[in-house]
Amino acid sequence: MTTAHMEVFEEELGRLEAALNRLRHDSNAKAVFLIDKNGQQIAAAGDVEDFDSTSLASLTAGNVAATDGLAKLIGEREFSVLFHEGKRDHIHISIVAKRAILLVIFDERSSLGLVRLRVKRASAEMDRIFDDMTRKSELGPEGRVEPSPFAEITDEDIDSLFSD
């Protein structure tokens, strides 16, 4: 059985981060996060330290998963955008490249309309980056810039993780 892998390489991560930074800037948002659908953070930009990003990633993925479940129940393929409005801060959640989640946190210095517009542009760019990433991943170990470090994991390596 093959468990699907997601692999992120230096070059694409740099491009994703650049795209996130631009989105953050252009939309005047507080922070933007790119999260994989299973709840792991891929990249982020903005005032990231103000947030517990690990918890944020897991709850966002749970939120999207639950909403996807709701969509299917009523015969929709997915709800492409989620928006939660708070008193001060708001969050905009959308899907990128079918497998990642883009989370934008913003306040009154921005607006839903502006965020929407900029997210759309950034998404198109990130779609392309994800395509490149997939291509690279599919090349297999030979095509990789770096060899897989895991082929040579020893039992001792594994035991050492739990040694304390």
């Binding site: 892998h5 992120v8 918890s55 897991s58 749970g62």
Partner: protein, 194 residues
């Protein structure tokens, strides 16, 4: 789905604790949380009902150190065990790398254990996973209670594929880390094959 970040030199794996309602899944995570050094864990999130039953999931991120220069991170999730939360259970299995099954050792819970393993098998299948192939560990929890079924009988009834099996008393931590370690090990060994 193992998530390997070559740029940040990180590897992330997802482990799901499965089993019948009140079996002790959340208690396993709580013990791990309590016993793990602050720098090696994130916040534990519990989406629970007012009666402390898991409603959607518990989540605990653990950082177990480095392998070959890669920070090795495990994201632990529990599912809600109550039968009627099946839709949520399915969602949480998405992208899973390994499963821990927490069985309740009390005699009157055997049927619920068996039913829950069947449910696990079916829900994994919907995501394209096969219980006979996925990293998996089994825990017979609540061994401290008086009305428990003998271990060998439970083994015959619940062991699926000779997966590593442990006796547990989760609130005291008995068997908790052994179980986690057994599944984590299998996940890392899987990586070696890829």
């Amino acid at each position: 789905m193992t998530f390997i970040n070559y740029a940040a030199k990180e590897i992330n794996c997802k482990i799901v604790y499965y089993g019948p309602g009140l079996g002790g899944k959340t208690t396993n995570l709580q013990h791990i949380f309590t016993k793990t050094a602050p720098e090696r864990k994130g916040k534990m999130i519990s989406l629970a009902t007012e009666a402390d039953r898991t409603l959607f999931f518990d989540f605990l991120p653990l950082d177990l150190g480095t392998i070959r220069g890669f920070t090795t991170r495990f994201h632990l999730y529990t599912v809600p065990g109550q039968v009627f939360y099946d839709a949520s259970r399915k969602l949480i299995l998405k992208g899973v790398d390994g499963v821990v099954f927490v069985a309740d050792s009390q005699r009157e819970r055997m049927e619920a254990n068996v039913e829950s393993i069947r449910n696990l098998e079916a829900n994994l299948k919907e995501h394209g996973f096969d219980l006979s192939a996925i990293p998996y560990a089994l825990q017979f929890n609540k061994r401290d209670l008086p009305n428990v079924m003998p271990v060998d009988e439970m083994y015959r009834m619940l062991n699926f594929k000779r997966e590593p099996t442990f006796e547990g008393i989760a609130p005291q931590g008995v068997g908790v880390f052994d179980t986690l370690k057994a599944v984590a090990k299998q996940i890392l060994i899987e990586l070696r094959k890829k």
